[in-house]
Subunit: 345 residues, 2 copies
DNA sequence: ATGAAAGCGCTAACAC
DNA sequence: GTGTTAGCGCTTTCAT
């Protein structure tokens, strides 16, 4: 291998610096203004067909790419949207938030600047500062589970919306999952299958999910004229272990169905049911929550659950940010949690 | 709540446009050059303590933030690194790639421009074009599972490195997991626990993982003077269902340990073992692969496995890109897959 | 229909 | 020590 330049520019086309507008103008025999107009299809400028064609060809030949950064300098406002997340990486589904935000952002010509902070305040501030310095159009501040937050002060320097969380003083627009409706949906799934003794393994962690899903459960029971039986509602840590242990406490009461706070709890419940030789859904119907696909789709039998709308949260956040949807300051915007039907009911 | 301006600029400092360097200069009674020098701690410029202090104070008071985009325009090179991924969102662990890339990028003053393309070629081209227009320092092109790819042509226009994949004509530097070492590690875990009849449920999907892990398995067996028994190696789809089904085929042979192609396969194997009343690890030791935390950490018993080094892949990719590590063109850089000890062996 | 020129916020010579 | 100035690549009046 012969010595190479630092960047290893061995490629076939000579490694000349990328063409800029001036180069195109020169090649096409026009001014940069003309090039600018044809590049942007500026309707206020009438460009002759001949010139337009020459410009197009020059662009093609030189492989010209507009410099988005220079454009930003002039217009004052960039096409960046910042997304600061406490945990994209540590949690399996938060990636969906990115995906939703990105798809919606692209739709409007924006691109995502992503920063995962691990919840670390220092990293958070640094991330926001960086975004501000890059003149983002706005910032999405997101958490992977639904909770109240006190947003970093620097967010005030730009447009910002909270995704999957809300600020207690509701100073910023927010979009969160509709826990109550989710709780209702889960319960309804079981009700519709004919169950009357429906248990609920709730999380022991105080949170909007804890209170919201419980409220939905109770509302739905009430709508079905079923008396609320506190013995059927137990709390547990929201993981497999918690689910298993709670199930053991619960399975003595003669329940025929269980609504689990999330899919991991359901996974634990499956284990418990197996230990008791209870068949799902024959002896016991179960509904999860979250739709954590790795789990829910591959349990035996596959788990019927209620999905946390991460993708939609991200997308809705962008829409709020860009003013496509109106932000209802004061109360967070709610995004529905849809049922996902599989085979455990 | 009283009526607010559209952006809700109720804050104490009047909602004037963000301060620029000129404003700071004026406020401090110096020139912009001086401000620039103190902002960047330019060692070539000697600034008087008095002036420096006045500038600092002005910056503070005006809430001045440097405009990173303008800086880029001048220097010609931005602080962006692009990350285009086929599936951050659709897969649970690829988020770790982002995290690794981001941490390493930040360490060197770079920020990540993320684009998830879903493998869609159109989206891919669009994403790369967008990154090129933003004058990224380089692009990380990543796939969520290890495979050969033919990189989009546009990647040639900038520095690029493949992460988790490689190009068959090895035209681009690449960093991938060390499947062979991973296979060796998994097998060794079982060997060290005293097992001699070790089965391997491999994936039926042709891939570097398929051949590499098998090779590692065989190498390790050979090193332990154990004859390779083809009957102990079966192929299956790499999910719970495949694992269950393969286990049923396998458990007739008197194996005492199974190395599973991944954690989901191991999950299926657990199911099968339970159906046969085989205790893990008492009757059957099992090792997974991937370390898909939702699964491996919460199976009963928790699964001993070999981790796919997504985080390190992302970080190594950035280091290659920035020239911190040297790219060995020709063969991909290998990243080790470390063992994760839990309770299934 | 097209071009000249000012200027976006910043850096880096180079004066003074 | 500190200020002046010429750009970086682009958009956008305003002339022509």
């Amino acid at each position: 291998m012969r010595p190479t330049t630092p960047r290893g520019d061995d490629a076939v086309p000579p490694p000349r610096a990328p063409a800029v507008m001036r180069d195109v103008a020169k090649a096409a025999g026009v001014s940069v203004a003309t090039v600018s107009h044809v590049v942007n299809d500026n309707p206020n400028a009438r460009i002759g067909d001949a010139a337009r064609e020459r410009v197009r060809r020059a662009i093609e030949e030189l492989g010209y790419r507009p410099n988005a950064l220079a454009k930003t300098l002039v217009s004052g406002t960039s096409k960046f949207i910042g997304l600061v997340a406490d945990a994209i990486a540590t949690t399996p589904f938060a990636g969906q938030i990115i995906q939703g935000a990105q798809d919606e952002a692209w739709k409007h010509g924006y691109v995502l600047l992503v920063a995962n902070t691990g919840g670390n305040e220092g990293a958070e501030e640094q991330a926001i500062a960086m975004m501000l310095e890059h003149k983002v159009r706005g910032i999405l501040y997101s958490t992977w589970f639904h909770r109240a937050v006190t947003p970093p002060a620097a967010l005030a320097e730009t447009a910002a919306v909270l995704v999957g969380c809300y600020s207690e003083d509701s100073t910023l627009p927010a979009v969160v999952p509709d826990e109550v409706q989710g709780g209702r949906t889960a319960t309804q799934l079981l009700l519709e299958a004919g169950h009357r003794r429906i248990a609920f393994i709730n999380t022991s962690h105080p949170s909007p999910a804890q209170t919201g899903r419980l409220q939905g459960y109770r509302e739905m029971l009430e709508a079905a004229d079923i008396a609320y039986d506190p013995a059927l509602v137990v709390e547990a840590t929201s993981d497999q272990e918690g689910g298993y242990e709670a199930a053991m406490r619960l399975l003595d009461h003669d329940v025929t169905a269980v609504f689990c706070h999330n899919d991991r709890v359901a996974m634990g419940l499956y284990d418990a049911a197996r230990d008791r030789s209870l068949k799902v859904p024959g002896d016991l119907a179960v509904v999860g929550f979250d739709d954590q696909e790795v789990i829910s789709a591959h349990l035996r039998p596959p788990l019927t659950t209620v999905a946390l709308p991460h993708y939609d949260l991200g997308a809705a956040g962008v829409r709020l940010l860009l003013g496509i949807d109106d932000a209802t300051l004061g109360t967070p915007q709610l995004v529905a949690c849809p049922p996902v039907l599989r085979s455990s009911v």
